[in-house]
């Protein structure tokens, strides 16, 4: 069964790669690249097979649940796998320059590759797990590798940021685990399918789901628990930041979506969806305002992540709760997922751009970047493209996502959500216009010493930014793919 092989490979290959990079650290970069390529190929293969035959399921070693580990891929997980595989591949290619070139700190170079592969394995594990405990293990793995990545450059601020991140993450893990334990107490199983079939809306179930959601929200940096994110993401080396900001919060969000839309949609009442949506809206406004006043590029981009993650939670009131049975639900849900994906691509592109700017200008102070577009036009262009997607302007993926969400908001009469979505876009324009403007300005003194950067290196962020744009132009396929395996019959929207 090639598709079960592929399912195994997307987790197995990076884990294997992880050991190989440790053992054979000299060729770590090459191994990591090859591994992520394998993962991407496997993910694409899975996508083809899922779109042809529907969701794919396999049991590792033939052991069935509950003792064995079951892996399943539906449209949603396949899309996330492809995007994360692609991002890791491109970031890996970018990191070849960052860590392999002489003059960079060898220790961080040594540690980066294995961490990257663990991260990839954990991510893929989350995307294909059908079991809450496996999910727990995977995202603990994810958290630990992410925290380790923050510390790579060894500076005090990075350590501090990493510690703060770790504390939040541990708290989140505890809450999640507590919830999972309660679920087990109730159902005697942690398998999603089993639980999903026997949900009875008892108090214990609600408590369990609430605890898990709280833990996941902490890890997704949902407002007001976002304090750890900006220092952690801006303190890490750029390739690490790219993955941290684009993929890691999405993993915990992914679990939240699985929990509330696949496993226990009946439980998602209005208070819950409103609370999550409200926090998401607050995140949009607060994150954007903070991003506006930042003076360092990476901080702007990091706060932008806080804001953009807010959108993901607006999906709950639009597609969950009472809205779940409505015709606009499918559009809102798909819009949210597309937003997660296009944000992942755009945000990783932005962090890579920021990384290149830092190498060229030796700082990411916005004022110091004045005129850098003359030295690195391609990178500035990539940054602008990514910004367009974040703003939700056509024809980017961000636009399609916002369009779908807005359509649902209007159809459901959810004015407030529509307002928040639009306000977020306009605020994003405010905080992203400033860096773009500074980059494109003429330098104050001519001939300011920006270090030239090789063109091939600059291609990496451009590829990701173009990916975000093409997700919009070619959104037909992803849209169809995302619908496969959804429990509620996927409707083509309104």
């Amino acid at each position: 069964m090639p598709s079960s092989l592929a399912l195994t490979a997307i987790i197995g290959a990076p884990l294997l790669g992880f050991f190989m990079t440790i053992v054979w650290s000299r060729a770590a970069a090459v191994v990591a690249s090859l591994t992520s390529m394998v993962v991407l190929v496997a993910a694409v293969f899975l996508a083809v097979s899922v779109s042809a035959h529907g969701a794919v399921l396999t049991s590792l070693g033939g052991w069935d649940a509950p003792l064995g580990i079951e892996l399943a891929a539906d449209g949603l997980s396949v899309m996330f796998m492809i995007v994360s595989g692609a991002i890791v591949l491109v970031v890996g290619a970018y990191a070849q320059h960052e860590f392999v070139h002489p003059g960079t700190e060898t220790r961080s170079g040594f540690a980066f590759w294995p961490l990257m592969l663990v991260l990839l394995a954990a991510l893929n594990g989350i995307f294909v797990s059908r079991d809450f405990f496996n999910l727990y293990v995977c995202f603990e793995l994810l958290t630990l590798s992410a925290v380790a990545m923050v510390t790579l450059n060894g500076k005090t601020e990075s350590i501090t940021a990493a510690l703060r991140y770790l504390l939040f993450a541990l708290l989140g893990s505890i809450l999640y685990l507590l919830g999972a334990v309660l679920l087990y107490a109730q159902f005697g199983s942690l398998d999603m399918g089993v639980i999903g079939q026997s949900v009875s809306s008892s108090g214990a179930e609600i408590l369990a789901a609430g605890l898990m959601t709280a833990g996941l929200a902490l890890k997704t940096a949902l407002f007001p628990f976002h304090g750890w994110l900006p220092p952690a993401h801006s303190g890490a080396p750029p390739p690490a930041s790219a993955m941290l900001s684009s993929l890691v919060p999405k993993a915990s969000y992914f679990i939240t979506i699985r929990l509330w839309f696949d496993v226990m949609p009946e439980l998602a009442g209005n208070p819950l969806t409103l609370a999550l949506g409200g926090l998401g809206g607050a995140a949009i406004l607060y994150g954007s305002l903070q991003a506006i006043v930042q003076t360092r590029l990476k901080m702007v981009v990091a706060y932008s992540t806080v804001a953009q993650l807010g959108y993901l939670f607006i999906v709950f009131p639009l597609a969950g709760g009472d809205s779940a049975a409505q015709p606009w639900s499918a559009g809102a849900w798909t819009g949210g997922m597309l937003h997660a994906l296009s944000h992942a691509l755009a945000k990783s592109a932005m962090f890579l751009c920021a990384g290149l700017f830092i190498i060229s200008a030796r700082t990411d102070d916005l004022e110091a970047l004045r005129g850098i577009a003359q030295t690195m036009p391609m990178t500035a262009f990539a940054f602008t493209l990514a910004a367009i997607s974040l703003l939700g302007l056509p024809p980017s993926g961000g636009f399609i996502a916002k369009y779908l969400m807005l359509t649902s908001a209007f159809a459901s009469g959810g004015w407030i959500w529509a307002f928040l979505i639009l306000a977020g876009g306009l605020l994003a324009a405010l905080y992203l216009y400033r860096p773009v403007r500074i980059m494109l300005s003429l330098p104050k003194q001519p001939g300011q010493p920006f270090k030239p950067i090789s063109r091939w290196w600059q291609v990496a962020p451009l590829v990701l930014a173009l990916g975000a744009v093409f997700l919009g132009i070619g959104s037909n396929e992803p849209y169809a793919l995302l619908q496969i395996g959804r429990p509620v019959a996927a409707e083509t929207g309104l």
Binding site: G154, L166, I174, V181, S189
Partner: protein
């Protein structure tokens, strides 16, 4: 039957107490090491509760699944603790402080 049930109850209540104590510790201390310890206390509490759920259906005897999962969980918690401790030592050696900046209450 009664004994099984009360045993389950004792373990569960103890676990819940540990969780509560741990959470309190986590919130009330700013010293990083204490916080990590508090985290471990909470973790122990959760595992205890988890273990107790193994007796959920007494007729079947002890359920093997929680045991397997607890072991996995302990490994995970251990590695998290290890990472945290290494970071704390690194942090202490770099900044000379066992608390995070901006956490104004010092209680070392």
């Amino acid at each position: 039957m009664m004994t099984w049930a009360s045993g389950w109850l004792i373990y569960g209540l103890t676990g819940a107490t540990l969780i509560g104590l741990g959470l309190f510790g986590f919130a009330s201390h700013t010293n990083l090491l204490r916080r990590i310890l508090a985290f471990n206390v909470v973790g122990s509490g959760i595992f205890l509760v988890f273990g107790a759920t193994g007796f959920r259906v007494p007729e079947l005897g002890a359920d093997a699944v929680p045991q397997a999962l607890i072991i996995t969980g302990i490994v995970v918690a251990l590695s998290a603790t290890a990472l945290a401790v290494s970071l704390i030592t690194r942090h202490a050696s770099l900044s000379g402080s066992a608390t995070l900046p901006d956490d104004d209450r010092e209680d070392r």
